[in-house]
Amino acid sequence: MYTEQVMDHFQNPRNMGEVEKPDGVGEVGNPQCGDVMRITIKVDDDERIEDVKFKTLGCGAAIATSSMVTEMAKGKTLQEAEEITKKAVAEALGGLPPQKMHCSNLASDGLKKAIEDYRSRHKDK
């Protein structure tokens, strides 16, 4: 049911782990729903995502979309990264089964939350 790309990202996830001393952290989901995603980002002076990592509790699609979202976000400006849609992630993975679309939602939400977190920290400064 999963595409080869999904299986590849699921079995060989890119950017798994936590960025050290992250500039932004986004955690979304809930263990009761079976999905939790934690995205940590390192942002450079040009507001580009220098590094990004994920940790995910969830199904194959949740892990694969997490991996894909970090790949897509890396090197992008914050504004560009915020524009990564659920649809774009799914397409990059060659599609997701319909009932799994909500999982890919979560991945881009996690990224957005991490960016928000960065922004809220930097507003303070």
């Binding site: 699921f10 079995q11 798994m16 729903c33 079976g34 995603m37 509790l57 892990i63």
Partner: protein, 413 residues
């Protein structure tokens, strides 16, 4: 692909080659319908009557009380809706429990919409129905109690005899869904003292698409499939002769091997449980430790999710060349957003239900297979836990948000 390890035998089993062999004749030259009179048809008739006797022998029934169906789903629908309709004048109350298979729960929900009242009894932390709950739930207008013999997910075996002594005394029919128990543990309708019993061929190495409903003589039940006069006018439709013959053969084989297989598989099951508990932190066994199907192991693994475990195990890697097929109670495979209603009925928090995996073994599986699968599982769980943002060794994640030894999850289950 290296030889796969199929540990999902509660879903379906491989049809035994001898069973397939027995079916051949009836798929070939001898394809006639048993409902006809000529010599041809009467051979088919003899064949299905022999299968009926073979199945009756397996479950200690009178062969006259066996009715062939397309599987346990049909048998369960027939039992529930057929009795409900036949006894609608007497009353419209049915008792079952929260941990039943969907093929019991869904007909019940349907009847609810049509004006019946259903009591869904709770089960305890091991999945057991309390017979005294049954007793208390029975009312003047109760027409049927339906309790599974052995749970398909957690393997718990219900105290049917005790429940039957209550239903018998109260004059209420007892239906037992024995889809998971027939051919795996002793099932004897006289000992169980039930009035109706469902079974399915493909759950014990028989063919798919064929099953039976045992209906004790005198039990009032409407047909579900009306039409031609087959099965004494109680279940219409051209007989699936090869399927029925195969079901009979599966019954013969199961009966012959039953005791030895129970012993062998129980030992293998206990070995797996022991290894899991010895080698993994933060897991729990779901279901009862002893009132349990010999071929069922179900555990929850904290901090990770079942679909991803299942998926990892099913794709061979360089280190683990043999794919391992298991199942999970996670919402991610149910097609809904809910994890297994059975695990929730035990009082398990949703996150532990999502993290459940079931091994269900077959007559083909050896200790070597089990050890291979265990090793693969350990590695997969480690890898997924290292990816998990919530898993911390020894710190239990709870629905309540509390964690550690004294957490509410333990108490709740």
């Amino acid at each position: 692909m290296d030889k796969a390890i199929f540990f999902d035998n509660a879903a379906t089993t491989r049809t035994d080659p001898e069973v397939l062999e027995s079916m051949k004749e009836w798929q070939g030259d001898n394809f006639g319908s048993p409902a006809t009179l000529y010599a041809f048809g009467s051979q088919a008739k003899q064949a299905i009557e022999q299968a009926r006797q073979q199945l009756a022998d397996l479950i200690g029934a009178d062969q006259k009380d066996i009715f062939f169906t397309s599987g346990a789903t049909e048998s369960n629908n027939w039992a529930i809706k057929g009795v409900a309709e036949a006894l609608a004048e007497k009353g419209r109350h049915i008792i079952t429990d929260q941990a039943e298979h969907h093929s019991i729960l869904m007909p019940c929900r349907y009847l609810e919409k049509k004006g019946w009242e259903i009591t869904y009894l709770p089960v305890d932390a091991y999945g057991l129905v309390n017979p005294s709950d049954v007793e208390q739930a029975i009312r003047e207008d109760t027409v049927l109690v339906s309790i599974v013999h052995a749970n398909h997910e957690i393997g718990t075996i219900q105290p049917i005899e005790e429940i039957a002594s209550i239903t018998r005394e109260k004059g209420v029919y007892l239906h037992v869904n024995a889809a998971q128990s027939v051919g795996h543990i002793p099932v004897d309708v006289t000992a169980l003292s039930c009035d109706l019993l469902s079974l399915s061929g493909h759950k014990f190495y028989g063919p798919k698409g064929v099953g039976a409903l045992y209906i004790r003589r005198g039990v009032r039940i409407d047909p579900l499939l009306h039409g031609g006069g087959q099965e004494k006018k109680r279940r219409a439709g051209t007989h699936n002769v090869p399927g029925i013959v195969g079901l009979g053969k599966a019954a013969v084989m199961a009966r012959k091997n039953l005791d030895a297989e129970i012993e062998r598989l129980s030992a293998l099951r206990d070995h797996i449980i022991e290894q899991l508990e010895k080698n993994m932190d933060d897991i729990r066994l779901n279901g009862h430790r002893t009132h349990r199907l010999p071929n069922n192991v179900n555990i929850s693994i904290e901090g990770i999710e079942g679909e991803s475990i299942m998926l990892s195990l099913s794709y061979p890697t360089a280190e683990n060349a043999r794919p391992v097929f298991i199942s999970t109670g996670s919402a991610c495979v149910s097609g809904t957003l809910e994890p297994s209603h059975i695990l929730l009925a035990l009082g398990l928090p949703a996150e532990l239900a999502h993290g459940s995996v079931r091994f269900s073994l077959s007559r083909h599986d050896t200790r070597e297979d089990a050890d291979y699968a265990l090793k693969a599982l350990f590695e997969v769980a480690d890898r997924l836990r290292s990816m998990s943002p919530v898993y911390k060794r020894g710190a239990k994640q709870c629905a309540t948000g509390k964690s550690g030894e004294g957490c509410d999850c333990e108490a709740a289950s």
